[in-house]
Symmetry: C2
């Protein structure tokens, strides 16, 4: 079993209204040192190793479903899952 | 300037319907090797160094606004921001 961590972030050129809203809230809470906030997604997948290469499969899943590559970038890390 | 990466994840005991929906979609796309999906948030903050300690400030912001500690866990990393 592999544990895959996927980070999906908005491309730098894309406006992030959710991040702006959070920054506004932080400023109103007196955290004026915060100069920028960008919000993305963080996905943790558990993948059973089979005949297909995990890296290839995760890349495909990101391109097809997990990230909107028009406006988002993604990166991922594959780790050996710790059995419980 | 410091770059802070904050990861907010649902606690393990909390159901993740969004993750289940994504897993269902992946299964219907023939990615049956995916056994679990959990979805969280990933925030990138730019923080100007001032009189307050960045670690303390970020911890406070997470507790008060960025994470709902009843159902979510958070962790963060502070990096030196690369000036552009």
């Amino acid at each position: 079993m592999k544990k895959v961590k996927v980070y999906v972030t908005l491309r730098e050129s894309v406006l992030d209204p959710q991040g702006s809203a959070v920054m506004g809230a932080l400023h109103s809470m007196e955290y004026s040192e915060v100069k920028d906030v960008r919000i993305g997604k963080f996905l943790e997948l558990q993948i059973e190793e089979g005949t297909r290469d995990v890296d290839t499969v995760v890349k495909e899943m990101c391109e097809k479903l997990l990230a909107n590559t028009v406006i988002e970038d993604y990166r991922f890390e594959v780790e050996e899952a710790v059995s419980k």
